[in-house]
């Protein structure tokens, strides 16, 4: 190959190569785009949504997902009947004209003006005005604005918008996944690099400790940690990260053992670079490949763990939510309101799918065995 051709193709380094291979992996690229969309959806969605995640709409308990806004035309009659039953008046006419509603009511007795307040108190109606009344106060016409609410994903058993809750839940689930992974990364990489680089007896002892912790029933310690820390959610996930670093430490140690025999490390040592600086500037950056792969595979594990904890009732507390909490609520309501289970499950599954595909793609792209 001439130097010209080499220059045109760009220099072939590890990351350039990996990127080339990754970009030809359609599953991984699609996953990255979908995941980015998911992150944006979770972060910015709640600000764009017309509902707050904790607003309770008492007239819309467990309403199914719908592309048209509530109250739907056939609902208005029913809501009106239910509301006015308490005021003991009969409905004579209901005319819906766009967002305006005119209502004619009649009663055997005098109609109290309180009927206006009763209607105001319903979520669906606002700006209730009395337009006319008969002289004996037994008939009355009112006008009001219908407040329409769009619930694309339906509402839950407390009458809260599931779309917004899925977004907020996504924030929490993604945040704990990333947070715990970063903690594990920090501990695992430094532990593994130090152990591998120093070697000898230190390495032996440090790895024996890792082996020992490996034998502990992990799930149980997570539950014990939750019990121990109470329900401080972020503290728990820092703790989970602090338990999950073992694999990371092993991977980094293995890489370090290979790296430390390489010439550039020897050169650095010959130049008088200190051990800590060699580890941080020369060893750690070169272990990044496997570490990144492992990270992408660990985030879904932690997200799954969070949802498991939520499922057994140890997750974030109401009204805050996470995908796990939503799924757990949905599983309880599967017979009457299946959408409560479907939407959070689909979002969780898509996220986990994407992260797994990205991890697999990165492994294929960065695996030196394939070169």
């Amino acid at each position: 190959m001439t130097t010209d051709a080499a220059a045109r193709r760009g220099s072939r380094n590890l990351w350039g190569d990996a990127w080339l291979r990754l970009s030809s992996n359609r599953a991984a690229i699609t996953s990255m785009i979908v995941l980015a969309a998911m992150v944006l959806f979770s972060i910015f969605g709640p600000w764009l949504s017309p509902h707050a995640f904790n607003t309770v709409y008492r007239s819309y308990i467990k309403v199914p997902p719908s592309l048209t806004a509530y109250p739907q035309p056939q609902d208005i009659q029913e809501i009106m009947t239910r509301t006015l039953r308490r005021a003991r008046v009969d409905i004579q006419t209901i005319d819906v004209n766009g967002d305006r509603l005119s209502l004619g009511i009649a009663s055997e007795q005098e109609i109290s003006l309180r009927v206006r307040d009763i209607l105001e108190r319903v979520d669906d109606f606002s700006d209730v005005t009395i337009t006319s009344g008969s002289s004996d106060s037994r008939q009355m016409s009112l006008e009001m604005t219908i407040t329409r609410q769009l619930f694309l994903f339906g509402t839950d058993s407390n009458g809260r918008d599931i779309l917004t809750r899925v977004m907020i839940g996504g924030r929490v689930s993604l945040a704990v996944g990333i947070l715990a992974t970063l903690v594990a990364l920090l501990i695992g990489v430094s532990y593994g690099a130090i152990s591998g680089f120093i070697g000898g007896r230190v390495d032996h002892v440090m790895m024996r400790i890792v082996d020992m912790i490996y034998a502990l029933p992990f799930m149980f310690f997570v539950i014990l940690l939750v019990v121990f820390f109470g329900r401080d959610f972020f503290l728990i996930f820092i703790a989970i990260g602090a338990v999950e670093w073992l694999d990371m430490a092993r991977i980094v140690r293995g890489q370090t053992l290979v790296l430390k025999r390489r010439e550039f490390i020897e050169a650095a040592r010959a130049l008088g670079v200190s051990t800590s600086r060699i580890i941080s500037r020369h060893v750690v950056p070169n272990t990044l490949g496997p570490v990144i792969i492992y990270m992408t595979l660990m985030v879904p594990k932690v997200i799954l763990l969070e949802s498991f904890l939520s499922f057994i009732g140890l997750g974030v507390q109401e009204p805050m939510t996470s995908w796990g909490v939503l799924i757990s609520d949905g599983a309880d309501n599967i017979a009457g309101a299946i959408w409560m289970l479907v939407f959070p499950s689909v979002f969780l599954a898509i996220t986990l799918f994407c992260l797994n595909f990205i991890g697999d793609g990165l492994r294929d792209a960065l695996d030196p065995k394939d070169r």
Binding site: M212, L216, L348
Partner: protein
Amino acid sequence: MWRYIGRRLLGAVPTVFIVITVAFFMMRLAPGGPFLLDRPLPDQIMENLMRVYQLDQPLWVQYTSYLKNIIRGDFGPSLIYRDFTVAELIAGGLPVSIQFGVSALLIALGLGTLLGTLAALYQNRGGDYLVMGVATFGMTIPNFVVAPVLSFIFGIALGWLPTSGWGDGTISYKVLPIICLMLPQMAIITRLTRAGMIEVLRSEPIRTAHAKGLPTRVVLTRHALRGAILPVISYLGPAAAALLTGSVVIETIFGVPGIGRYFVQGALNRDYTLVMGTVLLISVFILLFNLLVDIIYSVLDPRVIYDD
């Protein structure tokens, strides 16, 4: 070999000891207590309870006496399930959990290796994508989603199977829980088998086996599978330990009387002795299965030799 096993068993003792110690102190130092009810008990009764269960003594004394009891095989009385000892609770639930765990594990192993092998044989073709798609699906969808969905479809919508409970203990009550336990394990075993198989199929010994005219079936079952299944074997250790000791999710959803629930319930209710008993049981299971896996490993792969 026997010396190796003996040494491994001896080496497990300090690990178990550490597990007990950490679990004991974490549990005791956590806020709350076993007798804190919604309606507080009168002081007198509380004092009596604390004295009966020796919870009024200094922590250190309790710890040493617990260790002594453990060595004698006494797990103590449960603090929440009155009238039951921890040993009785475990003895009641463990056979159920083992029955479910073993069934799920065997089915997962059979189907997983079969599907994994098929995927490897049809690598990067339709069959491979199909199997791997299903496997990824089984791995990513948590079982607390799968379980209610399956029980809704087969239990409520179709009405074929009972949705929960134990009933008369016939097979129909066991189908759904076993499927839910099995699915994620099968998915992982499929992936592992496929990866191992792809690597083995490219190796020299397999080419030799083909070259000397062995039928493909024999090459696969006698030669390739033996090497390809090694990663599966090392995965099976922790997986078996986890399966046999029950799954809190499956047991809660399907109302199966196993021991998986005890730990979570115990931890939430501060049933100290029950928590300690289950933790101890699980760690012993994990250690034993890891040892078992290493032994099977050396049988399957003669290159692995455990010297003293």
